[in-house]
Protein backbone atom coordinates (compact mmCIF):
# COMPACT_ATOMS: atom_id res chain seq x y z
CA UNK A 1 0.00 0.00 0.00
CA UNK A 2 1.10 3.48 -0.80
CA UNK A 3 1.20 6.21 1.78
CA UNK A 4 -0.99 9.23 1.29
CA UNK A 5 1.97 11.45 0.66
CA UNK A 6 3.23 9.34 -2.23
CA UNK A 7 0.09 10.09 -4.23
CA UNK A 8 0.44 13.19 -6.42
CA UNK A 9 -2.57 15.17 -7.54
CA UNK A 10 -2.62 17.57 -10.48
CA UNK A 11 -5.63 19.89 -10.91
CA UNK A 12 -6.42 21.75 -14.12
CA UNK A 13 -8.13 25.10 -13.48
CA UNK A 14 -8.61 28.31 -15.45
CA UNK A 15 -10.71 30.98 -13.74
CA UNK A 16 -12.47 31.71 -17.02
CA UNK A 17 -14.62 28.88 -18.35
CA UNK A 18 -14.24 27.32 -21.77
CA UNK A 19 -10.49 27.65 -22.08
CA UNK A 20 -10.04 23.91 -22.68
CA UNK A 21 -9.56 22.35 -19.24
CA UNK A 22 -11.52 19.17 -19.93
CA UNK A 23 -10.12 18.58 -23.44
CA UNK A 24 -6.61 18.92 -22.02
CA UNK A 25 -7.26 16.76 -18.96
CA UNK A 26 -8.87 14.09 -21.15
CA UNK A 27 -5.72 13.99 -23.28
CA UNK A 28 -3.53 13.74 -20.15
CA UNK A 29 -5.72 10.82 -19.05
CA UNK A 30 -4.68 8.92 -22.19
CA UNK A 31 -1.00 9.87 -21.86
CA UNK A 32 -0.47 9.25 -18.14
CA UNK A 33 0.16 5.85 -16.60
CA UNK A 34 -1.15 4.44 -13.33
CA UNK A 35 -3.61 7.12 -12.33
CA UNK A 36 -7.08 7.79 -11.06
CA UNK A 37 -9.20 10.37 -12.89
CA UNK A 38 -11.34 12.79 -10.97
CA UNK A 39 -13.92 15.24 -12.32
CA UNK A 40 -14.27 18.00 -9.72
CA UNK A 41 -16.45 20.21 -11.92
CA UNK A 42 -19.52 18.75 -10.25
CA UNK A 43 -21.75 21.58 -11.41
CA UNK A 44 -21.24 20.86 -15.13
CA UNK A 45 -19.23 17.64 -15.35
CA UNK A 46 -18.11 16.93 -18.92
CA UNK A 47 -15.12 14.58 -18.68
CA UNK A 48 -17.41 11.54 -18.85
CA UNK A 49 -18.51 12.62 -22.33
CA UNK A 50 -15.10 11.78 -23.79
CA UNK A 51 -14.09 8.94 -21.48
CA UNK A 52 -17.43 7.06 -21.63
CA UNK A 53 -17.25 5.57 -18.15
CA UNK A 54 -18.61 2.15 -17.31
CA UNK A 55 -20.45 2.85 -14.05
CA UNK A 56 -19.45 0.54 -11.18
CA UNK A 57 -20.76 2.29 -8.06
CA UNK A 58 -23.23 5.05 -7.34
CA UNK A 59 -24.11 6.75 -4.07
CA UNK A 60 -26.34 9.62 -3.04
CA UNK A 61 -24.63 12.77 -1.86
CA UNK A 62 -26.48 13.93 1.22
CA UNK A 63 -25.52 17.19 2.81
CA UNK A 64 -27.35 19.76 4.88
CA UNK A 65 -31.02 20.09 5.74
CA UNK A 66 -34.06 21.93 4.49
CA UNK A 67 -36.94 23.35 6.54
CA UNK A 68 -40.46 22.10 5.84
CA UNK A 69 -43.47 23.56 7.68
CA UNK A 70 -46.25 21.19 8.70
CA UNK A 71 -49.41 23.24 8.08
CA UNK A 72 -51.54 21.26 10.53
CA UNK A 73 -49.26 22.24 13.43
CA UNK A 74 -48.40 25.79 12.31
CA UNK A 75 -50.16 28.55 14.29
CA UNK A 76 -49.01 31.27 11.85
CA UNK A 77 -47.42 33.24 14.69
CA UNK A 78 -44.93 34.79 12.27
CA UNK A 79 -41.77 34.21 14.31
CA UNK A 80 -40.10 32.09 11.60
CA UNK A 81 -40.70 34.76 8.96
CA UNK A 82 -39.25 37.37 11.27
CA UNK A 83 -36.12 35.34 12.05
CA UNK A 84 -35.39 33.98 8.55
CA UNK A 85 -32.68 36.12 6.98
CA UNK A 86 -33.04 34.49 3.59
CA UNK A 87 -36.64 35.49 2.90
CA UNK A 88 -37.40 31.81 2.37
CA UNK A 89 -40.80 31.67 4.13
CA UNK A 90 -43.81 32.96 2.22
CA UNK A 91 -46.71 34.92 3.81
CA UNK A 92 -48.78 31.71 3.73
CA UNK A 93 -46.05 29.78 5.57
CA UNK A 94 -44.44 27.73 2.86
CA UNK A 95 -40.67 27.38 2.69
CA UNK A 96 -39.11 28.04 -0.72
CA UNK A 97 -36.68 25.11 -1.10
CA UNK A 98 -34.38 27.19 -3.31
CA UNK A 99 -34.13 30.14 -0.92
CA UNK A 100 -33.85 28.01 2.24
CA UNK A 101 -30.24 28.13 3.46
CA UNK A 102 -30.67 25.14 5.79
CA UNK A 103 -29.63 27.15 8.88
CA UNK A 104 -32.35 25.66 11.09
CA UNK A 105 -33.09 28.91 12.93
CA UNK A 106 -36.84 28.62 12.20
CA UNK A 107 -36.82 24.97 13.29
CA UNK A 108 -35.15 25.80 16.60
CA UNK A 109 -37.39 28.70 17.55
CA UNK A 110 -40.80 27.53 16.30
CA UNK A 111 -43.01 27.58 19.44
CA UNK A 112 -45.45 25.06 17.90
CA UNK A 113 -42.71 22.62 16.92
CA UNK A 114 -44.24 22.69 13.44
CA UNK A 115 -41.10 22.69 11.28
CA UNK A 116 -39.39 19.50 10.09
CA UNK A 117 -35.75 19.55 9.07
CA UNK A 118 -35.06 16.57 6.78
CA UNK A 119 -31.62 15.90 5.36
CA UNK A 120 -31.19 16.83 1.68
CA UNK A 121 -29.94 14.71 -1.18
CA UNK A 122 -27.95 17.24 -3.21
CA UNK A 123 -26.38 15.02 -5.83
CA UNK A 124 -24.74 11.74 -6.74
CA UNK A 125 -21.23 10.34 -6.65
CA UNK A 126 -19.99 7.76 -9.16
CA UNK A 127 -17.03 5.42 -9.39
CA UNK A 128 -16.41 4.13 -12.91
CA UNK A 129 -13.94 2.35 -15.14
CA UNK A 130 -12.82 4.04 -18.35
CA UNK A 131 -10.42 3.14 -21.16
CA UNK A 132 -7.96 5.52 -19.44
CA UNK A 133 -8.35 4.04 -15.96
CA UNK A 134 -10.66 4.36 -12.97
CA UNK A 135 -12.60 7.58 -12.59
CA UNK A 136 -14.46 9.28 -9.76
CA UNK A 137 -17.10 11.77 -10.84
CA UNK A 138 -20.25 13.38 -9.50
CA UNK A 139 -23.37 15.23 -10.37
CA UNK A 140 -24.71 18.06 -8.27
CA UNK A 141 -28.50 18.23 -8.39
CA UNK A 142 -29.77 21.13 -10.51
CA UNK A 143 -30.26 24.27 -8.42
CA UNK A 144 -28.61 22.59 -5.41
CA UNK A 145 -25.96 24.02 -3.13
CA UNK A 146 -23.05 22.45 -1.24
CA UNK A 147 -20.99 22.08 -4.44
CA UNK A 148 -17.77 22.67 -2.47
CA UNK A 149 -18.54 19.72 -0.20
CA UNK A 150 -19.29 17.46 -3.17
CA UNK A 151 -15.97 18.49 -4.73
CA UNK A 152 -14.20 17.59 -1.48
CA UNK A 153 -15.99 14.22 -1.33
CA UNK A 154 -15.16 13.45 -4.98
CA UNK A 155 -11.48 14.17 -4.40
CA UNK A 156 -11.46 12.13 -1.20
CA UNK A 157 -12.95 9.13 -3.01
CA UNK A 158 -10.38 9.51 -5.80
CA UNK A 159 -7.59 9.49 -3.22
CA UNK A 160 -9.02 6.42 -1.49
CA UNK A 161 -9.23 4.64 -4.84
CA UNK A 162 -5.65 5.57 -5.72
CA UNK A 163 -4.48 4.19 -2.39
CA UNK A 164 -6.46 0.99 -2.74
CA UNK A 165 -5.21 0.29 -6.26
CA UNK A 166 -1.69 1.53 -5.54
CA UNK A 167 -1.81 4.24 -8.19
CA UNK A 168 0.52 7.16 -7.62
CA UNK A 169 -1.29 9.92 -9.51
CA UNK A 170 -4.67 11.65 -9.50
CA UNK A 171 -5.62 13.83 -12.48
CA UNK A 172 -8.41 16.23 -11.53
CA UNK A 173 -10.54 18.39 -13.80
CA UNK A 174 -11.37 21.55 -11.87
CA UNK A 175 -14.36 23.90 -12.10
CA UNK A 176 -14.24 27.44 -13.50
CA UNK A 177 -14.38 30.46 -11.18
CA UNK A 178 -12.64 31.40 -7.98
CA UNK A 179 -14.92 30.69 -5.00
CA UNK A 180 -15.99 27.62 -3.00
CA UNK A 181 -15.87 24.80 -5.60
CA UNK A 182 -12.49 25.99 -6.92
CA UNK A 183 -11.02 26.42 -3.46
CA UNK A 184 -12.34 22.96 -2.53
CA UNK A 185 -10.71 21.50 -5.64
CA UNK A 186 -7.21 22.88 -5.12
CA UNK A 187 -6.60 22.73 -1.37
CA UNK A 188 -3.97 20.14 -0.61
CA UNK A 189 -3.15 19.43 -4.27
CA UNK A 190 0.42 18.77 -5.45
CA UNK A 191 0.18 21.23 -8.35
CA UNK A 192 -2.24 23.18 -10.48
CA UNK A 193 -2.03 23.75 -14.21
CA UNK A 194 -3.74 26.98 -15.24
CA UNK A 195 -5.15 26.89 -18.77
CA UNK A 196 -5.74 30.32 -20.24
CA UNK A 197 -6.40 31.88 -23.65
CA UNK A 198 -4.94 34.99 -25.27
CA UNK A 199 -7.84 37.34 -24.56
CA UNK A 200 -8.12 40.20 -22.08
CA UNK A 201 -10.78 38.15 -20.24
CA UNK A 202 -8.50 35.08 -20.11
CA UNK A 203 -5.64 37.20 -18.81
CA UNK A 204 -7.81 38.96 -16.19
CA UNK A 205 -9.20 35.66 -14.88
CA UNK A 206 -5.81 33.93 -14.90
CA UNK A 207 -4.43 36.79 -12.85
CA UNK A 208 -7.01 36.03 -10.14
CA UNK A 209 -6.47 32.24 -10.09
CA UNK A 210 -2.69 32.77 -9.94
CA UNK A 211 -3.33 34.85 -6.82
CA UNK A 212 -5.59 32.10 -5.48
CA UNK A 213 -2.93 29.41 -6.02
CA UNK A 214 -0.39 31.65 -4.26
CA UNK A 215 -2.85 32.27 -1.43
CA UNK A 216 -3.07 28.52 -0.80
CA UNK A 217 0.65 28.01 -1.54
CA UNK A 218 0.11 25.47 -4.36
CA UNK A 219 2.73 25.30 -7.11
CA UNK A 220 1.22 26.48 -10.40
CA UNK A 221 2.24 26.48 -14.05
CA UNK A 222 0.53 28.12 -17.01
CA UNK A 223 -0.33 27.05 -20.55
CA UNK A 224 -1.91 29.23 -23.25
CA UNK A 225 -4.53 27.52 -25.39
CA UNK A 226 -5.44 28.86 -28.87
CA UNK A 227 -2.25 30.94 -28.60
CA UNK A 228 -2.20 31.81 -32.32
CA UNK A 229 -5.55 33.66 -32.13
CA UNK A 230 -3.54 36.56 -30.69
CA UNK A 231 0.23 35.82 -30.57
CA UNK A 232 1.14 39.20 -29.05
CA UNK A 233 -1.24 38.69 -26.17
CA UNK A 234 -0.01 35.12 -25.69
CA UNK A 235 3.53 36.45 -25.36
CA UNK A 236 2.33 39.09 -22.88
CA UNK A 237 0.54 36.45 -20.77
CA UNK A 238 3.64 34.25 -20.74
CA UNK A 239 5.79 37.21 -19.73
CA UNK A 240 3.31 38.05 -16.97
CA UNK A 241 3.50 34.46 -15.69
CA UNK A 242 7.31 34.41 -15.80
CA UNK A 243 7.42 37.71 -13.89
CA UNK A 244 5.50 35.96 -11.11
CA UNK A 245 7.88 33.00 -11.15
CA UNK A 246 5.40 30.62 -12.78
CA UNK A 247 6.79 28.11 -15.26
CA UNK A 248 5.24 28.05 -18.76
CA UNK A 249 4.04 24.51 -19.47
CA UNK A 250 3.53 25.25 -23.16
CA UNK A 251 1.19 26.65 -25.79
CA UNK A 252 -1.49 24.98 -27.88
CA UNK A 253 -2.56 26.22 -31.34
CA UNK A 254 -6.20 26.95 -32.18
CA UNK A 255 -7.38 23.82 -33.93
CA UNK A 256 -10.95 22.66 -34.76
CA UNK A 257 -9.49 19.16 -34.22
CA UNK A 258 -10.31 19.48 -30.50
CA UNK A 259 -14.01 19.87 -31.33
CA UNK A 260 -13.91 17.11 -33.97
CA UNK A 261 -12.30 14.75 -31.47
CA UNK A 262 -14.90 15.67 -28.81
CA UNK A 263 -17.76 14.96 -31.22
CA UNK A 264 -16.23 11.48 -31.76
CA UNK A 265 -15.90 11.01 -27.95
CA UNK A 266 -12.14 10.98 -28.29
CA UNK A 267 -9.22 12.99 -27.03
CA UNK A 268 -7.03 14.83 -29.49
CA UNK A 269 -4.25 12.27 -28.84
CA UNK A 270 -6.49 9.43 -30.03
CA UNK A 271 -8.11 11.38 -32.87
CA UNK A 272 -4.86 12.43 -34.54
CA UNK A 273 -1.73 11.82 -32.49
CA UNK A 274 0.52 13.30 -35.18
CA UNK A 275 -1.30 16.65 -35.35
CA UNK A 276 0.33 19.85 -34.13
CA UNK A 277 -2.34 20.13 -31.46
CA UNK A 278 -1.65 16.60 -30.14
CA UNK A 279 2.11 17.20 -30.19
CA UNK A 280 1.65 20.44 -28.23
CA UNK A 281 -0.47 18.64 -25.62
CA UNK A 282 2.15 15.86 -25.38
CA UNK A 283 4.90 18.39 -24.70
CA UNK A 284 2.82 20.07 -22.01
CA UNK A 285 2.10 16.73 -20.38
CA UNK A 286 5.78 15.77 -20.34
CA UNK A 287 6.74 19.09 -18.78
CA UNK A 288 3.99 19.01 -16.15
CA UNK A 289 4.56 15.35 -15.32
CA UNK A 290 8.31 15.75 -14.85
CA UNK A 291 7.75 18.58 -12.38
CA UNK A 292 5.22 16.71 -10.22
Amino acid sequence: MQGDRDIKELIVISGKGGTGKTSLLGAFAILARDKVLCDADVDAADLYLILEPDLKQRQDFQEGHRAVIRPEKCTECGLCRELCRFGAISPNYEVDPIDCEGCGVCVYFCPADAIDFPIKTCGELFISETRAGPMVHARLGIAEDNSGKLVTLTRKEARALAKKRELGLILTDGPPGLACPVIASITGASAVLIVTEPTLSGQHDMDRVVELANHFAIPASVCVNKFDLNPEMSAAIEQYARDRGLPIAGRIPFDPLFTKAMVQKQTVIEYDGQSRAAQAVLEIWERVNSSL
Binding site: D46, C103, S201
Partner: protein
Protein backbone atom coordinates in the same frame (compact mmCIF):
# COMPACT_ATOMS: atom_id res chain seq x y z
CA UNK B 1 -37.63 44.18 -17.71
CA UNK B 2 -34.71 42.00 -16.63
CA UNK B 3 -32.96 39.74 -19.17
CA UNK B 4 -30.37 37.36 -17.72
CA UNK B 5 -27.67 35.51 -19.62
CA UNK B 6 -26.58 32.08 -18.40
CA UNK B 7 -24.94 29.00 -19.91
CA UNK B 8 -24.10 25.95 -17.82
CA UNK B 9 -20.77 25.61 -19.62
CA UNK B 10 -18.21 28.37 -19.22
CA UNK B 11 -16.60 30.18 -22.13
CA UNK B 12 -19.56 29.90 -24.47
CA UNK B 13 -19.97 33.66 -24.94
CA UNK B 14 -22.16 35.03 -22.12
CA UNK B 15 -20.04 38.15 -21.79
CA UNK B 16 -20.09 38.73 -25.55
CA UNK B 17 -23.89 38.55 -25.63
CA UNK B 18 -24.38 40.66 -22.48
CA UNK B 19 -22.02 43.49 -23.42
CA UNK B 20 -22.99 43.71 -27.09
CA UNK B 21 -26.70 43.57 -26.32
CA UNK B 22 -26.31 46.30 -23.68
CA UNK B 23 -24.37 48.62 -25.99
CA UNK B 24 -26.61 47.95 -29.02
CA UNK B 25 -29.77 48.81 -27.08
CA UNK B 26 -28.48 51.85 -25.13
CA UNK B 27 -29.70 54.35 -23.92
CA UNK B 28 -32.06 53.15 -21.22
CA UNK B 29 -30.00 50.04 -20.38
CA UNK B 30 -28.47 48.93 -17.08
CA UNK B 31 -25.81 46.20 -17.42
CA UNK B 32 -25.15 44.12 -14.27
CA UNK B 33 -22.24 41.68 -14.18
CA UNK B 34 -23.13 39.01 -11.59
CA UNK B 35 -20.06 36.84 -12.31
CA UNK B 36 -18.41 38.17 -9.15
CA UNK B 37 -15.74 35.45 -9.20
CA UNK B 38 -14.44 36.37 -12.63
CA UNK B 39 -16.15 39.57 -13.82
CA UNK B 40 -15.25 40.44 -17.41
CA UNK B 41 -17.90 42.85 -18.69
CA UNK B 42 -15.89 45.90 -17.57
CA UNK B 43 -13.09 44.86 -19.94
CA UNK B 44 -15.44 45.50 -22.88
CA UNK B 45 -17.46 48.37 -21.40
CA UNK B 46 -14.57 50.31 -19.80
CA UNK B 47 -16.99 52.13 -17.51
CA UNK B 48 -16.35 55.32 -15.64
CA UNK B 49 -16.80 54.14 -12.03
CA UNK B 50 -18.65 56.71 -9.94
CA UNK B 51 -19.46 54.64 -6.85
CA UNK B 52 -17.44 52.06 -4.91
CA UNK B 53 -18.35 50.25 -1.72
CA UNK B 54 -17.15 47.28 0.26
CA UNK B 55 -19.61 44.42 0.53
CA UNK B 56 -19.68 42.66 3.86
CA UNK B 57 -21.66 39.98 5.65
CA UNK B 58 -22.53 39.67 9.34
CA UNK B 59 -20.48 37.22 11.41
CA UNK B 60 -20.50 36.57 15.15
CA UNK B 61 -18.09 37.89 17.75
CA UNK B 62 -18.29 36.49 21.28
CA UNK B 63 -17.87 38.65 24.38
CA UNK B 64 -16.12 36.15 26.68
CA UNK B 65 -16.83 38.30 29.76
CA UNK B 66 -20.54 37.46 29.31
CA UNK B 67 -20.25 33.91 27.86
CA UNK B 68 -21.07 31.03 30.21
CA UNK B 69 -19.92 28.31 27.75
CA UNK B 70 -23.46 26.88 27.62
CA UNK B 71 -22.89 25.67 24.04
CA UNK B 72 -26.27 26.66 22.58
CA UNK B 73 -24.59 28.64 19.79
CA UNK B 74 -22.63 25.54 18.80
CA UNK B 75 -25.81 23.44 18.87
CA UNK B 76 -27.86 25.71 16.62
CA UNK B 77 -25.08 26.34 14.06
CA UNK B 78 -25.51 23.99 11.09
CA UNK B 79 -22.21 25.03 9.56
CA UNK B 80 -19.72 24.33 12.39
CA UNK B 81 -18.85 28.03 12.33
CA UNK B 82 -18.93 28.45 16.12
CA UNK B 83 -17.48 25.87 18.49
CA UNK B 84 -16.96 25.74 22.26
CA UNK B 85 -13.48 24.41 23.02
CA UNK B 86 -12.52 24.15 26.67
CA UNK B 87 -12.84 27.61 28.18
CA UNK B 88 -13.19 29.47 24.90
CA UNK B 89 -15.51 29.84 21.90
CA UNK B 90 -13.93 29.65 18.47
CA UNK B 91 -15.60 31.24 15.45
CA UNK B 92 -14.82 30.22 11.88
CA UNK B 93 -16.02 33.17 9.86
CA UNK B 94 -15.36 31.59 6.45
CA UNK B 95 -17.89 28.86 7.30
CA UNK B 96 -20.55 31.28 8.61
CA UNK B 97 -23.76 31.69 6.56
CA UNK B 98 -24.82 34.82 8.50
CA UNK B 99 -28.12 33.29 9.63
CA UNK B 100 -27.96 35.03 13.01
CA UNK B 101 -28.96 31.86 14.89
CA UNK B 102 -26.12 32.00 17.42
CA UNK B 103 -26.86 35.60 18.35
CA UNK B 104 -30.57 34.86 18.64
CA UNK B 105 -30.10 31.78 20.81
CA UNK B 106 -27.48 33.17 23.21
CA UNK B 107 -29.16 33.57 26.65
CA UNK B 108 -26.43 35.95 27.89
CA UNK B 109 -26.47 38.37 24.94
CA UNK B 110 -22.78 37.60 24.61
CA UNK B 111 -22.75 37.54 20.79
CA UNK B 112 -22.61 40.61 18.61
CA UNK B 113 -22.40 40.64 14.84
CA UNK B 114 -19.51 42.29 13.07
CA UNK B 115 -18.89 42.96 9.40
CA UNK B 116 -16.72 40.65 7.37
CA UNK B 117 -15.65 42.12 4.04
CA UNK B 118 -16.21 39.82 1.05
CA UNK B 119 -15.43 42.03 -1.90
CA UNK B 120 -15.97 45.31 -3.73
CA UNK B 121 -19.08 46.60 -5.50
CA UNK B 122 -18.66 49.24 -8.21
CA UNK B 123 -21.15 51.11 -10.34
CA UNK B 124 -20.87 53.76 -13.00
CA UNK B 125 -21.62 54.27 -16.64
CA UNK B 126 -20.27 54.38 -20.15
CA UNK B 127 -21.98 57.32 -21.83
CA UNK B 128 -25.68 56.60 -21.29
CA UNK B 129 -25.22 52.89 -20.45
CA UNK B 130 -25.45 52.26 -16.70
CA UNK B 131 -23.16 49.58 -15.31
CA UNK B 132 -22.53 47.70 -12.05
CA UNK B 133 -20.45 44.71 -10.99
CA UNK B 134 -18.72 43.26 -7.95
CA UNK B 135 -15.48 41.45 -7.36
CA UNK B 136 -15.02 38.74 -4.74
CA UNK B 137 -11.78 39.02 -2.78
CA UNK B 138 -9.37 36.22 -3.72
CA UNK B 139 -9.58 33.40 -1.16
CA UNK B 140 -13.18 34.17 -0.16
CA UNK B 141 -15.57 31.25 -0.51
CA UNK B 142 -19.06 32.71 -0.85
CA UNK B 143 -20.11 34.55 -3.98
CA UNK B 144 -23.82 34.97 -3.25
CA UNK B 145 -23.67 38.05 -0.95
CA UNK B 146 -21.86 39.96 -3.71
CA UNK B 147 -24.33 38.76 -6.34
CA UNK B 148 -27.19 39.95 -4.13
CA UNK B 149 -25.54 43.37 -3.94
CA UNK B 150 -25.28 43.59 -7.73
CA UNK B 151 -28.91 42.45 -8.07
CA UNK B 152 -29.90 45.29 -5.73
CA UNK B 153 -28.71 47.69 -8.45
CA UNK B 154 -31.57 46.66 -10.79
CA UNK B 155 -33.43 49.75 -11.99
CA UNK B 156 -37.16 49.06 -12.51
CA UNK B 157 -37.64 51.68 -15.23
CA UNK B 158 -34.73 50.46 -17.36
CA UNK B 159 -33.89 47.41 -19.42
CA UNK B 160 -31.64 45.43 -17.05
CA UNK B 161 -29.20 42.92 -18.54
CA UNK B 162 -27.65 40.46 -16.08
CA UNK B 163 -24.52 38.48 -16.97
CA UNK B 164 -24.56 35.31 -14.81
CA UNK B 165 -21.62 33.07 -13.85
CA UNK B 166 -21.29 29.60 -15.47
CA UNK B 167 -22.81 26.47 -13.90
CA UNK B 168 -26.26 25.69 -12.47
CA UNK B 169 -25.78 25.98 -8.69
CA UNK B 170 -26.36 28.69 -6.08
CA UNK B 171 -24.44 31.63 -7.68
CA UNK B 172 -26.32 31.12 -10.96
CA UNK B 173 -29.70 30.74 -9.23
CA UNK B 174 -29.08 33.99 -7.33
CA UNK B 175 -28.24 35.73 -10.60
CA UNK B 176 -31.20 34.59 -12.72
CA UNK B 177 -34.00 34.09 -10.16
CA UNK B 178 -36.87 36.50 -10.71
CA UNK B 179 -35.69 37.70 -14.13
CA UNK B 180 -38.14 37.92 -17.04
CA UNK B 181 -36.17 35.98 -19.62
CA UNK B 182 -33.00 33.87 -19.69
CA UNK B 183 -30.75 33.72 -22.75
CA UNK B 184 -28.89 30.39 -22.64
CA UNK B 185 -25.64 30.65 -24.55
CA UNK B 186 -24.14 27.41 -25.81
CA UNK B 187 -21.89 25.90 -28.45
CA UNK B 188 -22.79 22.99 -30.73
CA UNK B 189 -20.50 20.42 -29.09
CA UNK B 190 -21.13 17.46 -26.76
CA UNK B 191 -19.94 19.57 -23.78
CA UNK B 192 -22.10 22.49 -24.86
CA UNK B 193 -25.19 20.29 -25.23
CA UNK B 194 -24.67 18.46 -21.93
CA UNK B 195 -24.33 21.71 -19.97
CA UNK B 196 -27.20 23.34 -21.92
CA UNK B 197 -29.50 20.53 -20.77
CA UNK B 198 -28.51 21.22 -17.15
CA UNK B 199 -29.15 24.95 -17.64
CA UNK B 200 -32.55 24.25 -19.20
CA UNK B 201 -33.38 22.06 -16.18
CA UNK B 202 -32.50 24.99 -13.94
CA UNK B 203 -34.64 27.60 -15.76
CA UNK B 204 -37.54 25.13 -15.81
CA UNK B 205 -37.31 24.75 -12.00
CA UNK B 206 -37.30 28.56 -11.74
CA UNK B 207 -40.10 28.75 -14.33
CA UNK B 208 -38.53 31.50 -16.46
CA UNK B 209 -39.10 31.87 -20.24
CA UNK B 210 -35.88 31.13 -22.14
CA UNK B 211 -34.23 30.84 -25.53
CA UNK B 212 -30.90 29.71 -26.94
CA UNK B 213 -28.01 31.51 -28.62
CA UNK B 214 -25.56 29.18 -30.39
CA UNK B 215 -22.03 30.53 -30.52
CA UNK B 216 -19.34 29.21 -32.91
CA UNK B 217 -22.36 27.61 -34.56
CA UNK B 218 -20.38 26.03 -37.41
CA UNK B 219 -17.83 24.18 -35.22
CA UNK B 220 -19.28 20.91 -33.96
CA UNK B 221 -22.41 18.96 -34.77
CA UNK B 222 -26.17 19.53 -35.17
CA UNK B 223 -27.32 17.98 -31.89
CA UNK B 224 -27.95 21.27 -30.08
CA UNK B 225 -30.34 22.38 -32.85
CA UNK B 226 -32.10 19.00 -32.81
CA UNK B 227 -32.43 19.20 -29.01
CA UNK B 228 -33.87 22.73 -29.18
CA UNK B 229 -36.44 21.65 -31.77
CA UNK B 230 -37.39 18.58 -29.76
CA UNK B 231 -37.81 20.61 -26.57
CA UNK B 232 -39.51 23.45 -28.39
CA UNK B 233 -37.00 26.05 -27.19
CA UNK B 234 -36.49 28.95 -29.61
CA UNK B 235 -33.03 29.48 -31.13
CA UNK B 236 -32.68 33.24 -30.96
CA UNK B 237 -29.39 33.78 -32.75
CA UNK B 238 -26.43 31.90 -34.19
CA UNK B 239 -22.91 33.31 -34.29
CA UNK B 240 -20.52 31.47 -36.63
CA UNK B 241 -16.84 31.05 -35.76
CA UNK B 242 -14.93 33.90 -37.31
CA UNK B 243 -11.34 34.94 -36.68
CA UNK B 244 -12.44 38.58 -36.89
CA UNK B 245 -14.90 38.06 -34.04
CA UNK B 246 -12.37 36.08 -32.00
CA UNK B 247 -9.72 38.76 -32.52
CA UNK B 248 -12.14 41.61 -31.61
CA UNK B 249 -13.12 39.75 -28.44
CA UNK B 250 -9.52 38.96 -27.52
CA UNK B 251 -8.56 42.63 -27.21
CA UNK B 252 -11.77 43.69 -25.49
CA UNK B 253 -13.58 45.09 -28.55
CA UNK B 254 -17.34 45.06 -29.16
CA UNK B 255 -18.82 43.45 -32.27
CA UNK B 256 -21.61 46.04 -32.43
CA UNK B 257 -19.04 48.82 -32.68
CA UNK B 258 -16.36 47.25 -34.81
CA UNK B 259 -17.92 44.78 -37.23
CA UNK B 260 -20.66 45.64 -39.75
CA UNK B 261 -24.16 44.24 -39.30
CA UNK B 262 -23.89 43.20 -35.62
CA UNK B 263 -25.71 46.18 -34.12
CA UNK B 264 -28.72 45.22 -36.25
CA UNK B 265 -28.40 41.53 -35.27
CA UNK B 266 -28.36 42.34 -31.56
CA UNK B 267 -31.33 44.69 -31.97
CA UNK B 268 -33.22 41.85 -33.70
CA UNK B 269 -32.23 39.50 -30.87
CA UNK B 270 -33.90 41.86 -28.41
CA UNK B 271 -37.05 42.12 -30.54
CA UNK B 272 -37.27 38.33 -30.59
CA UNK B 273 -36.83 38.12 -26.80
CA UNK B 274 -39.60 40.68 -26.26
CA UNK B 275 -41.97 38.31 -28.00
CA UNK B 276 -41.21 35.52 -25.50
CA UNK B 277 -40.46 37.32 -22.23
CA UNK B 278 -42.63 37.22 -19.12
CA UNK B 279 -45.41 39.77 -19.13
CA UNK B 280 -45.20 40.42 -22.87
Amino acid sequence: MIISIASGKGGTGKTTIATNLAVALSPGVNLLDCDVEEPNDHIFIRPEVTHTEEVSVKVPQVDMSKCTLCGRCQDICQFQAIVVVGESVLTFHELCHSCGGCKEVCPEDAIVEVDREMGIFESGHRDSLEFAHARLFVGQVMAVPLIDRVRAAVQPNKLNIIDAPPGTSCPVISSVKGTDFVILVTEPTPFGLNDLKLAVGMVKILNIPHGIVINRSDLGDTKVTEYAERENIPILMEIPFDRGIAETYSRGGLLVEELPGWKEKFTELYERIRGYARGS
